[in-house]
Amino acid sequence: MQMWRKIKYEAEVDHGFAGEIAALPGGEKLFSCIQCGTCSATCPVSPYMDYTPRRIIAMIRGGFKQEVLTSVTTWLCASCYSCSVECPQEINITDIMYALKRKAIRENSDPKGFAISVLTREFFNSIARTGRNSEGRLSLRLFLKTRPLQLLRQAGFGFRLWSRGRLGVRRERIADRKGLRKLLKTVEAEAYSGKRWSLTATNKGGKL
């Protein structure tokens, strides 16, 4: 029988990592995990993850920073909130996954070329420009960047959707794009002014 194990020398462990995650919005209850595994059992995608949600929690607390931030687990999480609802300790695991994704993006350690993080970045940038998602254009950019060879097959699929009026080629956008850009710029300036992570200081540990 093959045992799953992960061993590190004490000197290689990042002791501050757990504290960093617990300080992010959503991470507040990280230390109340009892490692029961309910999250992994209820998660529909855990069989495809490199580390299950329970293991991710254990690895955060163990200081396995690099492994956690580069894993595909957080990106496979489809945000269905099963784990958060079922967790007996009321830990919002979905929001811990979000906190990890954000940290990975900021530290630029998300798995490169992985379609989910590519889609996430593409989506993020296009909404900031237009205010609305143009589904056809977004899918096209995703396939161009990740699987250009599959475009032909996707073209057939796209045509079937288009012929039923379900896929537009038009660029969807809002009227007040200027206002939206200003709003995003203002909150960015505010959030990156060094005050960002004091957000948690005002939280009373309430369930998200």
């Binding site: 989910i116 959707l161 379900r166 896929l167 206002g179 995003l184 909150v187």
Partner: protein, 297 residues
């Protein structure tokens, strides 16, 4: 009571039939859904994955736009049919309540573009409005073509029942079963009804997305469902449009129609299938033709 309507991007594209059937059904009942002017994308899971402050800003803009329609101290009811939008708007409300500093940051940024949000917007799913505000009695009074004999698997997916919804049980929701049951349908027991379809995984990590949807469809087929009823544009798209590829990948022969619950309501109300957007389906609803002929005879 008046309702404001937030369609979201998908209801103007992939889920166009959802919007068509939703508006037709509400029109039949005599309730006006007024579309929120210049609404923006809810940010979906992408914004929360990259920047939670910007994610909140996007949704807060929509909440503030809705706030403009408020008269006096009344609460505005914003009807949000897409599960992703429903979740993001609800989540933003929760974050703004829990994190006062975030609330201050967002509200001051909103005021720079002449918007205000006073917290008096309630996020409502149409299923909630139909079952709890209007009531099954009123809805069944509009039925001209009961859905008799149609075996329906009611699919809730994830984000309208978890974690912010208050209108139904998080583990075993029943609103849709009650609604479609009142319209004559035979609702089947289907324990996977709140299991996630994987969202955009069909487009990113295809083998995982297909597998998740195969499990859902196979279980519904084993329980002899004639149709799966959905409440979310992405679930509908995944479960229906990927069936040919699912069959090819897993050597199956599924052919299960997947429609919006509002389309089934419209059929029960005797509305034209074209008005309900049923011509946009990949897999037609043969059971329905059978029922209609039976009723006409």
């Amino acid at each position: 009571m008046s309702y404001l309507y937030f369609p979201g991007c998908s209801l103007k594209g992939l889920g166009r039939a959802y919007e068509e059937s939703l508006l037709a059904v509400f029109d039949t009942i005599g309730i006006d859904l007024k579309e929120l002017t210049d609404w923006n994308c809810c940010g979906a899971t992408a914004y929360m994955s990259i920047d939670e402050v910007k994610a909140c800003a996007l949704s807060a803009r929509n909440l503030a736009l809705a706030d403009k329609y408020r008269v006096g101290e009344e609460t505005i009811h914003l009807v949000v049919p897409c599960s992703g939008c429903y979740l993001e708007l609800s989540k933003t409300q929760k974050l703004l309540r829990d994190y006062p500093e975030l609330d201050r940051t967002i509200k001051s940024a909103l005021s720079d573009i002449n918007l205000e949000y006073h917290g008096k917007v309630q996020i409502r799913h149409p299923l909630d409005v139909l079952v709890n505000d209007l009531g099954l009695g009123l809805l069944s009074a509009h039925v001209t073509q009961p859905l008799r004999g149609l075996r329906v698997a009611c699919y809730y997916g994830c984000q309208i029942v978890r974690p912010y919804s208050t209108f139904d049980d998080q583990h075993a929701p029943v609103a849709m079963e009650r609604l479609l049951g009142a319209l004559g349908a035979e609702v089947i027991d289907w324990p996977l009804k709140t299991r996630c379809c994987g969202g955009s995984l069909t487009g990113t990590v295809e083998e995982v997305g297909l597998r998740l949807n195969h499990i859902l469809l196979k279980e519904a087929a084993k329980r002899k469902a004639d149709v799966v009823a959905t409440v979310c544009p992405l679930c509908q798209f995944n479960l229906e449009c990927y069936q040919p590829l699912i069959n090819k990948t897993f050597g199956d022969a599924l052919n299960l129609p997947v429609v919006y619950f509002t389309q089934l309501m419209g059929l029960a109300f005797g509305l034209d299938p074209k008005v309900l957007g049923l011509q946009r389906s990949f897999i037609p609803l043969p059971a329905y033709e059978h029922i209609r002929e039976a009723v006409e005879r």
